[in-house]
Every structure is written in structure tokens, then in C-alpha cells.
Symmetry: C2
Subunit: 105 residues, 2 copies
Amino acid sequence: MGHRASPQHSDPRDVPVETVFAALADPVRLAIVRQLAGSEDWSRACGSFDVPVGKAGLSHHFTVLREAGLVEQRDEGARRVNRLRRDEVERHFPGLWRLALATGD
Amino acid sequence: MGHRASPQHSDPRDVPVETVFAALADPVRLAIVRQLAGSEDWSRACGSFDVPVGKAGLSHHFTVLREAGLVEQRDEGARRVNRLRRDEVERHFPGLWRLALATGD
DNA sequence: TAGAGTGTTCGATGAATTGCGAACTGATTC
DNA sequence: GAATCAGTTCGCAATTCATCGAACACTCTA
């Protein structure tokens, strides 16, 4: 029977810019966001990212990204798949993706 | 005799974007930056900002802002005056000021 | 030169963050 | 149904961060 509780999301319009900056200030979360940016929407499960933390830490980082309004998650069978909220975030924080995703060469 | 040691600055081009995000993720530092943005260059001494921290904390926050390449400081007599590095930062992190200075209404 | 003003540094403290392993839930597969 | 896979939650240790008061250094003024 039971469903799994759907993850709780924030609307980017309700998120203060400090929260967005704090979310992206962590190297693990920035790596997640960058890998997500190079992937198709809903194509990546949480465990599929190349980051140096265990799954408990990973779960925490996705919570932070969700609450910052940067990532959306959806359950798909046993897996939880992700997408970057490209358009909503770009509308409310124009230029943020350009900054966050720049390689910094 | 003795001079006072000039503050040490980072070139915005050498600063990773995580560091910039971390600097701006703190509400006190964001308030400083916003007040600085509304002031003429070199017109504001460190102690002139309306933020709810003592001077020890204030000194720390200015160090963080300097090392993030966001603020420049210069000694002027007994006072240390500040300016926002508007152009250099805008060149290397285009759109950052627009994000950081937006009122979020 | 004594005092006031401005800002830095030090040491301590408390809070928040990050990380891990273990136990747990739900979904899939055998 | 049993084993497995994906992810969450809990409890804990380690680290970092923000903050304060006190002591210090430097500059200006009286």
C-alpha cells in the first residue's frame, strides 16, 4: 500500500538569495548541480552522482538543494530522480546558473 | 614610525565562485555589501555600517569580504575606508551584483 | 604627551555544518 | 516470501563559523 512521502520543495520565489548562496557554497552541492546541469531532466537518481560522500551525506545535500529551490525530485519506483530547476531559478535569480556553472578557467 | 600593515586583498579572478557564494551567504556580510553599494567609493569606514555585531565580529567579516575579492580597503588616517569592487567583480562574475543587491520584494 | 577614536588579534564559547555507520522504510527482483 | 537495492533518519564525532570581551596598535586631537 503505503506511498513514500513525497519530498518537500521550496518555490524559488520564496527563497532568500542568502539561502541560495549558502546552498551553492558547498563543493559537494556545487558538484551535484554541475553534473545535473550536464544531464537530461529526470535522468539522474541521487546515487548516480560522482561525489565523495556516503549516501547519508548525499541525502542531506539533496535536502538542502531542494529547500533552496534549486533542484526538484520525484519518486520513480525505488529511485528518486532529479532535475535542475533551470527556468524557474533563472527567472527569479537571473544569471545564477551562469555563475554557478562557469568552469572558472 | 611604524606603518600599519596594509590589508591583504584577493584578485576576484583568483577567487573560486564557492568562496564568493560563501561570503555572500552570511546576512551580516550581505548587509555590509548592500550598504556599501548605496555609498560612494571610499566614503565608508568600517565602523559606519548598521549591522548588529561588535567591532571584533565586524573586522572578521571585512576580512572575509576582502579575501573573496568583493571589497577593497585602504587606510586613511586612523580609519579604514571601503569600496565595493564593482567593475572587477562584474567582469569576472557577471550578474553577481544584480543577484546580491536585489531587494527580493 | 595624555586621551579618545578606530580597528585588529587573541582566546573562549556556542551554534551550525559536515561526515559517518547503523537501523529503517519502501520498491524491485529472484 | 527472501534478498537486494535506493534512499531516509538517527545518533554521534569532528570541524567550521559567528560572536563576544579583553588586550593591543596605531592615529589624531586637545
